[in-house]
């Protein structure tokens, strides 16, 4: 059973930031002359160490998107790969799918590996559904006779039997995606590498896709590598999870434990509860200066009780007049990166003559359930439409239940995990 099917050893991938090469012949000639004839250092290269996206990138800097990855995946294992944007997930996928090659190290694979970085690669709108099945299937490495054999199954899974000989440009986008996924699902590889392709398509299709993946892993004993932002899908599909951080493996273990650690760390990284903008360019119309989460007595914190009111304080600059007015948008996301709500605010007075504003948004108690949340903030102008600034996941905070207060009140004596995204206190009446 526990045969190793993927063995990754000392895998690294170095990228050059900014313009690659230098883009033009003259710069490369310049570099060649300086390095090889004058014996100077490469005028366009600077070597960096850690892949930290928050640090400002200098042109020509080298960055390790992946550093010294060592990993073994056993046969039949379903491994979830999680990590922030830029942690190296996509790079790892690209290397596994041989779209690009590693800088050092090696990946050894046993069995046929298919990777789904996208569904429907190679689809041409002028070709019919049937032709596109063959096009995409052969691109994914299937032989024509294999597709012949599976054609009926694919068509049935995608639900496009009626439109099989219609050009795919007449398909709805949902149909196209379904067709693409149906082909991929019938590849029958020993190892399947899946990117967040499941993020496309409607809810029904997503369910179908996840179901198919579970079927592939559990009933057919195939190995699956699944990259996702969505903690719920990772939890429901994977036995093992791996956290990538700044291009290295941070942790690997049982999914539940790993996901929990990931979420805790995620908030810990933002534990200050306050964010200052280090980028203070004066020329822009609007700029976020500071954002912080506070208790109602203005004490900065990252942990709030579920029953208490707390506030988000935003300090920013903007410059506007009567005709065009800015909206401040507060985005609240849960730990699965799912947007819970957006709250807008536009009641600013331009006549004040000042450009700097501080506003506060009060998030009421008895609204959010226990868990981790992130805040994003953006400033948008309508008419003409423009997003002056947009800071995603700029702050994180945690909601905890204070059972001393809520146990006998809202929780009716139940002290266990409370299901649901929200835990609101609603008004109930007895009518008869």
């Amino acid at each position: 059973m526990s045969k190793t099917v993927i063995k990754i050893e000392n895998l690294s991938k170095i990228y050059r930031l900014g313009e690659v090469g230098t883009g033009t012949l003259s710069h490369d000639l310049n570099r060649f002359v300086r390095m090889n004839i004058l014996g100077q250092d490469d005028p366009y290269a600077k070597v960096g160490h850690v892949n930290d996206r928050t640090a400002k990138a200098e042109k020509g800097e080298l960055v390790a998107a992946l550093r010294d990855i060592n990993l073994e995946v056993k046969e039949g294992e379903v491994l979830g790969i999680i990590g922030k944007n830029g942690a190296g997930k996509s790079t790892l996928l690209k290397l596994l799918s041989r779209v690009t090659s590693p800088t050092t190290g090696s990946i050894k694979v046993k069995g046929r590996l298919a990777s789904l970085l996208e569904v429907g690669t190679g689809f041409h709108p002028e070709m019919t559904g049937r032709e596109n099945i063959y096009m995409n299937g052969t691109i994914m490495g299937m032989r024509k006779w294999e597709i012949d054999r599976k054609l009926d199954e694919i068509v049935e899974f995608a639900g496009v039997a009626k439109y099989l000989d219609t050009p795919t440009k007449r398909y709805s986008s949902g149909m196209t995606v379904r067709l693409g996924f149906a082909i991929a699902a019938h590849l029958e590889p020993e190892i399947l590498v899946v990117d967040e392709v499941l993020a496309v398509g409607d809810a029904e299709f997503q369910k179908k896709a996840i179901g198919k993946m579970q079927d592939v892993s559990q009933n057919q004993g195939r190995t699956v590598l699944f990259v996702s932002h969505n903690m719920n899908s990772v939890k429901s599909i994977c036995d093992t999870a791996l956290i990538l951080e700044n291009g290295a493996i941070n942790q690997i273990g049982k999914t539940d434990k790993t996901v929990e650690n990931y979420l805790t760390n995620f908030v810990k990284n933002k534990k200050t509860g306050v964010w200052y903008n280090s980028n203070t360019i004066q020329e822009v119309r609007s700029n976020l200066i500071e954002i912080k989460t506070c208790h109602s007595d203005n004490e900065i914190d990252t942990v709030f009780k579920s029953h208490e009111d707390f506030k988000v304080l935003v300090t920013f600059t903007t410059d506007f007049n009567e005709k065009t007015k800015p909206y401040l948008n507060l985005h609240l996301k849960d730990s699965n990166d799912e947007l819970l709500f957006i709250s807008n605010f536009s009641d600013l007075d331009y006549k004040r003559g000042e450009e700097k504003y501080q506003v506060e948004c009060i998030i009421p108690g008895n609204l959010l359930n226990e868990g981790f949340y992130t805040i994003g903030i953006a400033l948008t102008y309508l008419n003409p439409f423009n997003v002056d600034f947009s800071h995603k996941e700029v702050l994180g905070f945690q909601i905890e239940e204070d059972l001393n207060i809520t146990l006998n009140d809202i929780r009716c004596g139940y002290g266990g995990p409370f299901p649901g995204k929200f835990r609101p206190k609603l008004k109930w009446n007895v009518n008869s």
């Binding site: 063995k7 090696s106 694979v109």
Partner: protein, 281 residues
């Protein structure tokens, strides 16, 4: 336990080209060819007729400019046929070259998402170019038959017509080889794209497409033209159908040798580029 099917490593040797894998993907090549054909013919009324318009127009222009104004000899053969012959065989090269020279830039999207032996793509382009050639060649044969049956002695076909597949193969090798070298370089230096269009045109004037080698006075000029590896193919093609021109096994062998070297170099350079090109495009 140790026998892995696939090992992904940083660098392959320059010559480590997996032809077995390319063969395994032959169905993909067929699909790419099919896709090229479908996308050209769908939604046009005239479809393949367009491929004939270009040689007709070019032939007419050459007849006026080079035939009548400049009065360049066509070795005693009908002007229309002489130019059309040159254009037809030359077009196969320029078509192959132009399409394969865009392999990386035009397919960056697909190449970034899925792996398959990248050489399949230029191979497919050269193959689908054959269809365009077939249409233009059919048109050439129509005009040719007219002269063959109405004007006795105007054209003298001979047994070297049997070498047509060889001429085509050589043109394909030149187009493919030069094209994949070009596309490999353009992933790094976009400057080269500007060279493409007029580079092909310059090359055409340096080759005996619209003039016969026999009109050139012996000297440096003639030696240079004879060094051009396209000369034996163009002269040979015209010799086979029109009887005017020149054919020798030695010059054809020279042409074949150059084509082999270019194709070989092309495959090595292409192979070296394909591994990391997605990081630079």
């Amino acid at each position: 336990m140790k026998d892995y099917d696939l090992i992904i490593r940083p660098k392959r040797h320059a010559f480590d080209i997996n032809f077995k894998e390319i063969w395994a993907y032959r169905d993909l090549l067929k699909m790419f060819v099919k896709r090229d054909i479908i996308t050209v013919y769908k939604q046009t009324i005239l479809g393949p007729i367009w491929f004939v318009v270009q040689p007709i127009m070019t032939t007419l222009i050459y007849m006026v400019v080079f035939g009548n104004i400049a009065q360049i000899s066509t070795d005693g053969t009908p002007q229309a046929l002489f130019y059309l012959a040159g254009i037809t065989i030359w077009n196969y090269f320029s078509e192959s070259f132009n399409t394969t020279a865009k392999t990386f830039t035009e397919n960056a999207n697909i190449f970034g998402k899925v792996y398959f032996p990248r050489l399949i793509m230029p191979f497919a382009k050269v193959t689908s170019g054959l269809i365009k050639f077939a249409i233009q060649f059919t048109f050439f044969m129509v005009v040719y038959s007219y002269f063959l049956f109405t004007q006795e002695g105007a054209v003298q076909p001979n047994w070297t017509i049997a070498l047509l597949p060889v001429y085509l193969l050589l043109m394909a090798m030149f187009g493919l080889g030069a094209g994949i070298i070009f596309t490999s370089w353009t992933t790094k230096y976009r400057d080269l794209t500007f060279l493409l269009t007029f580079g092909v045109q310059l090359l055409m004037y340096a080759s005996p497409v619209i003039y016969p080698v026999s009109t050139i006075e012996p000297g440096l000029m003639k030696d240079l033209i004879l060094l051009n590896p396209f000369t034996p193919i163009l002269e040979g093609f015209k010799y086979a159908f029109l009887g005017a021109g020149h054919f020798s096994w030695i010059s054809l062998g020279y042409s074949a040798a150059v084509a082999t070297v270019i194709l070989f170099l092309g495959i090595i350079i292409f192979h070296k580029t394909e591994r990391n090109f997605i990081d630079t495009v």
